[in-house]
Symmetry: C2
């Protein structure tokens, strides 16, 4: 990240490395150091040329590296995690065992704060930095226990166009390079599990195509030392098939055939392979072209790893057993007779649980100011629900205790991320939020007010954005009975008049409070006002309620979201969508919650319709289901599940000093 200015809080001198000096620029460096919870700054300003503008070239990774993280076992001790509950991964990150939930069973939960945003520009409005700034303010400055719960970012975009996702400026998770790279391997575990399912699908189709019922049965239920028995996974399949027998010898030939043949319809396999790499050429591929696969070619594709249903399961599971059951229930395709085929039918569900046994434990890191963070799960926010894990939130709520705060973040704008947080994640977890922090920027508000940015009209544009998109997003939170604090993420280009206007209008639109935030430049100190407002808001009553009853018909649930959340007049289902809904109802999936796959760039399905559009009908192009994760996802547009690399990807600038082991170019 390249900054144009920093707010300076002190003065002093340090050396400026020559690499920071650019022609035509002045250089400023801020050096944070953490002593007893207080951030101090050492600043030097050198005028290199006569230019009057200040340009600061200080990257997020330089800020991150300037602060040595405290040892993770020390952090754990500070927040009450016992040594035996901690599994360190190097010095600055650790997994926390789920047994902590049992130990703290009687401990009251802390307050539960969701950070959501108004409809964003394509650049994002800074929910992650607000989240981190808020916990830094709560913990390090207000001395209230607090925990941030963040999503783990995909590694693919780190090398593509996006760069890091650990927050930014003085509101970061450190070390940011570990946050953005392998971390503790959870996404790699998901990749391995996802692709084992895929390999099992194609291999099974090949084996079924080339073997008789008898040969399949003899191999699937082999005689070991003269004894033939079903494995527990096979008993489960028999039960689902209505064959209540446990002696392999007692099956009729018809039952043998039913048992051994999944009879997957190649055209109805919904399971894709995944890689955690931006590899656009894998979007659509043909597999099975080697002669060893005997002509069983098939079109399929790869998604980016975080789009795997297994990621959504990791985020929603509330115990190891729950995760294992969800993995077993995942539907990978349909048999030729129309029956859903699950991971358990493939015999692979136990192995998936084994591959995911460590991934289910949240990873603990820290902010720049030494306050605790859980990084755990990062499902897509369109085809999945876009929220970090239930388990991290639960653990954190116990750890902070009654007067503490857990701040968790929802993906995209509030119409998507927050709605799914409430209707899907809170339904799975049983947790109830106390307050929503709604992040806005003047930049995005101007866009919603009818930008492009014309100086003369700025005030009108900002007001328009507040009265349209911001108001609507506040109203959405109120549909669920939760109070809203608006956090205006201040950019250096914002004027005081704009800041004042947004805060005033936000309160007029129903926010409990609205405050400017300067966490990017100032860290926790820049979010003190927000922390106080959030603390205040949580003392007010929250009357949380779901938007829809889970037993409503699928179509009615979709319509409710479209009308009440998005502001649509109605929905329109394609014939494919109608047929799928009928099929899901037949299969008993009718009472799952809904996970809309819609653009995040508008409240409507039309990315260029800003503000709070009305008078539109939401088209439902298709409907899909993640049965293991436990939701139905209607497709409102075409969702890309595999990003690409640009002509000059980020990786051109990423390098490692082989002597110091320092990473450069991550930002």
């Amino acid at each position: 990240m390249q900054a144009d200015a920093l707010v300076l809080l002190g003065a002093g001198t340090i050396d400026v490395p020559p690499s920071w000096v650019r022609p035509g620029a002045a250089v400023i460096r801020c050096q944070p150091s953490l002593e007893t919870g207080i951030v101090t700054y050492t600043v030097i300003v050198i005028t290199i040329t006569l230019h009057s503008c200040f340009s600061v070239f200080i990257s997020d990774i330089e800020i991150s590296r300037a602060q040595t993280p405290k040892p993770v076992d020390q952090l754990a001790a500070e927040i009450g995690v016992l040594p035996e509950e901690l599994e360190a991964y190097g010095r600055s990150k650790a997994k926390v065992q789920l047994s902590l939930l049992d130990r703290l069973h009687t401990q009251p939960d802390g307050k539960y704060v969701l950070v959501a945003g108004i409809t964003p520009t394509p650049l994002g409005e800074g929910k992650s930095t607000v989240t981190i700034g808020l916990v830094q303010a709560l913990s390090a400055h207000l001395k209230l226990n607090s925990f941030a719960c963040l999503r783990q970012p995909s590694q693919g975009p780190t090398f593509g166009v996006k760069g890091g996702a650990a927050g930014g400026g003085y509101a970061q998770v450190i070390p940011m390079e570990e946050f953005n790279l392998h971390l503790t391997g959870d996404i790699h575990a998901i990749t391995a599990a996802n692709n084992l399912v895929a390999a099992a699908i194609d291999a099974r189709m090949l084996h079924e195509a080339t073997q008789s019922d008898k040969a399949l049965f003899n191999r699937l239920v082999p005689s070991v030392n003269g004894v033939r028995r079903f494995s527990p996974i096979q008993i489960s399949r028999l039960n689902r098939l209505g064959i209540n027998k446990t002696d392999p010898a007692s099956l009729t030939p018809q039952e043998v055939s039913t048992f051994v043949r999944l009879d997957l319809d190649p055209s109805k396999i919904t399971w894709q392979r995944v890689v955690d790499t931006n590899d656009r050429f894998l979007r659509k591929i043909t597999v099975g072209q080697a002669s060893t696969e005997k002509g069983m070619i098939r079109e399929t594709g790869f998604d980016i790893a975080v789009a795997s249903e297994i990621m959504a399961i990791l985020a929603l599971a509330d115990s190891l057993e729950d995760m294992k059951n969800r993995l077993a229930r995942m539907v990978v395709g349909t048999s030729r007779s129309g029956q859903p085929i699950t991971a358990e039918d493939l015999g692979v569900s136990g192995a998936l649980a084994v591959l995911m046994k460590d991934a289910i434990k949240p990873t603990m890191m820290q902010t720049l100011e030494g306050t605790p963070v859980f990084v755990h799960a990062g499902p897509f926010a369109n085809i999945a629900h876009g929220n970090s894990s239930v388990l991290a939130d639960k653990l954190a709520l116990k750890l902070v205790g009654r007067n503490g705060f857990v701040v968790t973040e929802a993906g995209f704008g509030a119409d998507i991320g927050m709605e799914k947080f409430f209707n899907i994640k809170c339904r799975a977890s049983g947790l109830r939020p106390n307050v929503v922090v709604l992040v806005a920027t003047v930049r995005a508000l101007k866009m919603h007010g009818g930008g492009p940015n014309v100086i003369a009209k700025v005030r009108i544009l900002v007001a328009g954005g507040c009265r349209s998109n911001l108001r609507k997003q506040i109203q959405i939170a109120h549909l669920f009975g939760v109070p809203v604090v608006v956090a205006l993420n201040v950019f250096k280009t914002d004027t005081q008049a704009e800041i004042d206007l947004v805060c005033q209008l936000a309160k007029e639109c129903g926010a409990s409070d609205a405050v400017p935030c300067h966490h990017w430049a100032q860290g926790g100190r820049g979010s003190l006002e927000l922390a106080q407002a959030v603390n205040e808001a949580t003392s007010r009553p929250s009357n949380f309620q779901f938007l829809y009853n889970i037993e409503m018909p699928i179509v009615e649930k979709i319509r409710t979201i479209a009308q009440k959340v998005y502001g649509a007049d109605d929905i329109e289902l394609s014939p494919e969508a109608e047929a799928k809904i009928d099929y899901y109802n037949q299969q008993g999936y009718g009472s799952l919650p809904i996970c809309m796959a819609k653009t995040h760039l508008s409240l409507s399905h039309m990315p260029d319709k800003k503000g709070a559009p009305t008078g539109f009908t939401l088209p439902i192009r298709d409907v899909r289901a993640s049965i293991g994760a436990g939701f139905i996802f209607p497709l409102v547009g075409t969702m890309s599940t595999m990003p690409g690399l640009p002509t000059r990807p980020c990786f051109y600038d990423i390098d490692l000093d082989p002597v110091t082991e320092e990473i450069t170019g991550l930002f």
Copy 2:
């Protein structure tokens, strides 16, 4: 693993879980517990039926789990690793920092022992268990410092047909489930790095096909705040192109075109994608079929992750800088004008080093008897060199000190794994081995003596195997000037007469010593004789020499290996092979060592020719190169680089108890 018998060393009583009891079997359980370095056994024998045969159903994972590993920080302290040099990954494994090499720079190396094998049966002859049994005997019983250096197994086969690879019985690395699963993520890092290269290749071809020179240049060397400059990676490419300019504005249009266009020939891309899953349907695929890729479809394939050149680099690198340079040199394909295109040309080499920065640190674990083990790198033994890492061996040699032992293992039979250990790994590391332990089994010797197993002829068969394959493999080690100790890995079906015969003949064939080993059933105690023999052999002179001078022509190097090691009369090159050798000579790759890709099931290229075949001409079908890893690999047969899943893969039996978190079915 299912055992038929165990050697019992003590008696006592414990409970037998009902799941161990099978019809028609008696049950024995051995419960090892480690106290002050001594293994004690508690045994119960229950006769369930009147059958006189004993069948013991005790799996490797049950043995592994019965022994709680000591905390890895305690193990580290015992062997002299400082706390700040250790990066724990959970409680029982840790990465060791390379800075330890600097700290122990003046420490003399220990003795360096290579474990190799005779030409194996398809079941393998137990090199890993011999390696572990030997260090257990050296450390826990002879009280000599010792370290085992093992390869990390691919996760794919763990769920396919192979099961675990952590040794077996009472000669295991624990916890075996961590050894066989993600471990510390090194293979996942290789997968990520390998696939980033692949994504960069296809994306680059697409961008070059759709943009003008000028557009490419403007994107590859963008103006940032009015300044346009090359990145260090781009400067390297310019230098290789002979363009010694650093100001982007000074390039001529022709130089711009040369710089921006890699002009990769799609038919000459040698880089494949990888997954760590047995996914046979990915052996040959077509990519780029989505409309977004504009018709740029291409046939390619996936290998299993451990077949990646990056794995071979990890195993051969002797520092972070060396690894980074090797990654940059990797050749991914050829331009239309015949120039090799490297990872650095793609701009991705710094990012690869970043992805691999933790993988380069060896992972420390322990044996069942609490002695230290490094697990690091696991390249294929045919298209690569099949040995664990140079860095793990170097670290271990410093840690054990002058009178200590490092026991490292080479893949396949000695004609392949040992030859590559000497000619490739020792050349890269500068290390010199003191002794070779050559593992043999009566089962394999019978095969080489002309089996199948006919009782009347058994003695003749065993003797035949000794005088053919065993003798030849001993002679191969002597070509390099290294003494040989033969380790006969004893099976319960071996008779004392067979054991005595093998030991006697091995010595007649030139072995310094030959002893039976009972580590599988007895742990270190069962390898005491071997440990004493190895200790004795290392006091003899070793006059190590390479088999060939690196500057010999490629063809002569191949011929030398074929004639002196395999016993071939000569070699025969296909026209493709000749053309490739010419090309590699032109490109300056002529002085790389040779890494033969040959079947491990015979000394010849014909898997069914057992013993020590003679009178054959070795056909060289094709020749390929891993320029980053630093070897030329002639293909003697068709090497599968992607295993498949059988009809009933191992995963059917693998499960996780969600309450105890215990894994079952890994064996």
